[in-house]
Point group: C2
């Protein structure tokens, strides 16, 4: 919560804090669909093919199709053609830099859910690939070392949970 003395400044929010104008609203417009979120999550988990998205997100194929087109249109995901030997050319879907930058959003959501919905620890742990140390998102005032990049993240399944997605 914001300190009282700033409420004066904040009072006339109409100038800048309008529903459709702030960064958060805009971001939410792009990520408004739940499928889009889930697809991005799977991207971080290493999924790159259509079929796998469908399976991992447990969404329908049309929903995944829509989400991928949406995410591609907004520059969060790119379609990369690839070809397995003996097969025809297909597309795979990878996060752009902008997409990778969404990792803190995802992780903070996971953290919140783990704490307040799962009653503690969730099924997944995130670990810095170099140091092996637990990774999390938090409010900081200083740059603590170079911040970890999404490329450098290892995802570990906690022992007590059966499935990755449960």
């Amino acid at each position: 919560m914001v300190a009282i003395e700033f409420e004066d400044r904040l009072r006339d929010r109409s100038k800048w804090s309008i529903g459709g104008a702030c960064s958060m609203s805009k971001a939410l417009d792009l990520l408004s669909t739940k499928t889009a979120f889930l697809v991005i999550r799977e991207c971080f988990y290493g999924t790159s093919r259509f079929e796998d998205f469908v399976e991992c997100t447990q969404a329908s194929a049309p929903a995944v199709s829509r989400a991928l087109r949406q995410l591609e249109a907004t520059g969060i995901v790119i379609r990369v053609p690839y070809q397995e030997p003996g097969k025809r050319v297909q597309d795979e879907y990878r996060l752009t830099e902008a997409g990778k930058d969404l990792f803190p959003v995802l992780l903070s959501l996971v953290q919140w859910g783990d704490k307040h919905l799962q009653g503690g620890r969730g099924p997944l742990s995130f670990v810095d690939a170099d140091s092996g140390r637990p990774l999390r998102v938090d409010l900081i005032t200083e740059i603590a070392d170079p911040p970890t990049r999404p490329e450098n993240i290892e995802i570990r399944l906690n022992a007590q949970s059966r499935r990755r997605s449960s």
Copy 2:
């Protein structure tokens, strides 16, 4: 703590809810509506009264009403009766601890939007109230000092953006 109503709600929604039961999916179920996000944002900005939510979020009154009920049912917001002298008792809405814990989610969204949608800096800065140092959300492996609490955050309006730009 915030568990029972959640589960009921999630069970009801299980018919159409996708993505299984990971923390992120569950969190998204609770925050899926855009109005809910905006209401929470306004809570952090110091808004606590119905009318102000309606004005600040630019959502319709019914939407705000629904969002507040939803958020109250899920333990993110509580209704607190209060009385101004000479007026009748009303309710105001405040974030619970669970609600305050959503701050990193909000801030990471704002950060992402500022970087990738606003092309740089957005209209708001977040500053540690004690040290006055810029505050942000990032991936960390170690606890950098005691992490800043949402109570301790100052929000500053950046000088250059006066408009609801882009």
